[in-house]
């Protein structure tokens, strides 16, 4: 096995400086460590070191019952727990061939999209903060707070929701919750204008994002990017459209695409996704059918032996669950998460090469990684 530690040259050689960005660094969104080889301020090479937050969720799940795993999925991408919940529950439902009631499907769409907005708000705030626009950060968190309030009212938790059950949802909507959601959508649309005023037309923001970390569609596909980073490169790939799950096949929405594949396009794609999410929430709210929220689920969840892979579109990208059941025990034989952040982060060394340190920070922000999911 080759040594991971790069050869540390003399501190001030006339050409290169090796510097550790992280694991304690304000812009690495957790405990990411990037070993940068610098020529002046220019990044010659980068090595991403992860695993500081590895909790062994996959291993742990092999000794937890099927229902208990839902709350482990909360802790994967802890800023969008609801989508992880949806992904896991749908995978088990696929394995067990459980029919989920339509109302539950609609509710899952609503919660997923609210969660997407919340996650994108966190991305927007930290991304802007990383490039020095600190007001946007607080504005974004102000609106995220509204979503957290909605979730709190729905399931009692603000971050790790445990908001899905295999076969449906734990509870129906609280009274007048739907009105609040629509009210939130109205507020959010106005606030989006505010963010765009602060950033989209801002010359400094354009200079900081345009042409930074350019990656074309083919290379983005090859590097395994998914979600907004892939769509920013102009590849039309959205699990919600390609392999519809929950009630997305009944929703009407566009998949925003970028052109240049730079940081700005990834930004624009996510800003558009805010609007699309709002559109989906409105449709789902309008079309939500009455009915049960939990399908016919056996008392004892014990799926048949077999393997299943199911992917959903989490705010970060394609979140896949690969689950193997041996049909005998009470827990999965193998539980594998295909974390979008992990695969997106893989492209970071390629993206930062030749850019400056400040761009490294902007690029980590534009990939929108959550280390809880990267390290699992």
């Amino acid at each position: 096995m080759s040594s991971p530690t790069p050869q540390y040259g003399p501190m001030f050689d006339t050409d290169e400086l090796v510097i550790n960005m992280g694991p304690q660094h304000p812009s690495t969104h957790g405990v990411l460590r990037v070993v940068l080889r610098l020529d002046g301020e220019k990044v010659v090479d980068a090595d991403v070191v992860i695993g500081y937050l590895h909790r062994g969720v996959e291993k742990l799940s092999e000794s937890r019952s099927w229902a208990q795993i839902v709350l482990l999925t909360d802790r994967l991408d802890y800023v969008s727990a609801a989508t992880s919940n949806v992904g896991y529950c749908e995978t088990v439902e696929k394995l067990m061939a459980i029919e989920v009631p339509r109302r539950a499907k609609y509710l899952r769409v609503i919660l997923s999209e609210l969660q997407r907005i919340a996650s994108h708000l966190l991305w927007l705030g930290t991304h802007a903060m990383d490039t020095g626009a600190m007001t946007v950060f607080l504005y974004a968190f102000r609106e995220r707070e509204l979503i957290l309030d909605l979730f709190e009212e729905y399931c009692g938790a603000r971050l790790t929701y445990n908001s899905m059950r295999i076969g449906g949802l734990p509870q129906d909507l609280p009274p007048s919750w739907d009105r609040k959601v629509l009210e939130f959508c109205r507020i959010m649309e106005g606030k989006l204008e505010e963010y765009e005023t602060l950033l989209t037309g801002n010359r400094i923001w354009l200079e900081r994002t345009k042409g930074v970390g350019v990656i074309d569609g083919a290379e983005a596909l090859a590097l395994g990017l998914s979600g907004p980073p892939l769509r920013g490169s102009g590849v039309r790939r959205d699990v919600r459209k390609d392999e519809p799950y929950a009630a997305y096949d009944e929703m009407e929405f566009d998949v925003p695409l970028g052109v240049a594949g730079d940081t700005f396009d990834r930004y624009v794609v996510r800003m558009q996704e805010f609007r699309q999410s709002i559109r989906i929430i409105r449709q789902a709210m309008q079309g939500i059918p009455e009915g049960p929220i939990l399908g016919k689920v056996p008392r004892l969840i014990k799926p048949p032996a077999g393997e299943v892979y199911h992917a959903i579109e989490s705010p970060k990208g394609e979140l896949g669950f690969f689950i193997v059941s041996d049909g005998k025990s009470m827990s999965p034989y193998r539980f594998r998460v295909r974390p979008p952040s992990f695969c997106n982060l893989q492209a970071l060394p390629r993206l930062v090469k030749g850019h400056l340190i400040a761009d490294v920070v902007a690029l980590i922000g534009s990939l929108d990684v959550v280390l809880g999911e990267v390290d699992r």
Partner: protein, 170 residues
């Protein structure tokens, strides 16, 4: 009285810092002492009524040239331990002896000049402007225009030369 106190204090500082510049083990310390030394020299110029030169001394010397030194020291310093002051070497003895000889010679001249003061030089030039800065400026742009332009050319050449020399050959 005040002038004397100022002179002696400043002179002590100038010489003290100069000795420290020369003897400091760490070149960065040398640079720091050099800055302090130059600031004291600037203060000395102020006591002599040469405010413009004092300002230039601080602006160009302390604020510019020495920063350059500091950069270079930081660029080349870290790799090798700073070289110690080697007073014992043959070289050093020779150097100190030479410096001593110059000191004696200069002191002799000074004492001699003290004993037979030169005739007061030509009386104050009458310039059409008053104030130190204005007068220096007047001289620079009238009598010394050509040297001034030559100096600016020299600086330009030095700038280009420094860039060419320091640039990495790629």
């Amino acid at each position: 009285m005040a002038e004397a106190i100022a002179f002696y204090v400043l002179a002590a500082c100038i010489l003290g810092f100069a000795v420290l510049v020369v003897t400091a083990k760490n070149p960065v310390h040398s640079v720091v002492f050099l800055v302090l030394d130059f600031l004291c020299v600037a203060a000395l110029y102020v006591t002599l009524g040469a405010e413009f030169v004092a300002a230039i001394q601080v602006l160009v010397y302390a604020g510019g040239i020495v920063v350059l030194y500091l950069f270079v020291v930081m660029l080349v310093n870290v790799k090798r331990p700073p070289e110690a002051f080697r007073a014992g070497g043959r070289h050093a003895m020779l150097g100190l002896a030479l410096a001593g000889a110059v000191l004696v010679e200069a002191a002799a001249i000074a004492v001699w000049s003290r004993l037979s003061p030169a005739a007061p030089a030509s009386a104050a030039q009458s310039l059409p402007v008053s104030g130190n800065t204005e007068q220096v400026g007047w001289l620079l742009y009238t009598s010394y225009l050509v040297p001034f332009e030559v100096a600016s050319m020299l600086l330009l050449v030095a700038m280009v030369g420094a860039i060419v020399l320091a640039r990495k050959e790629s």
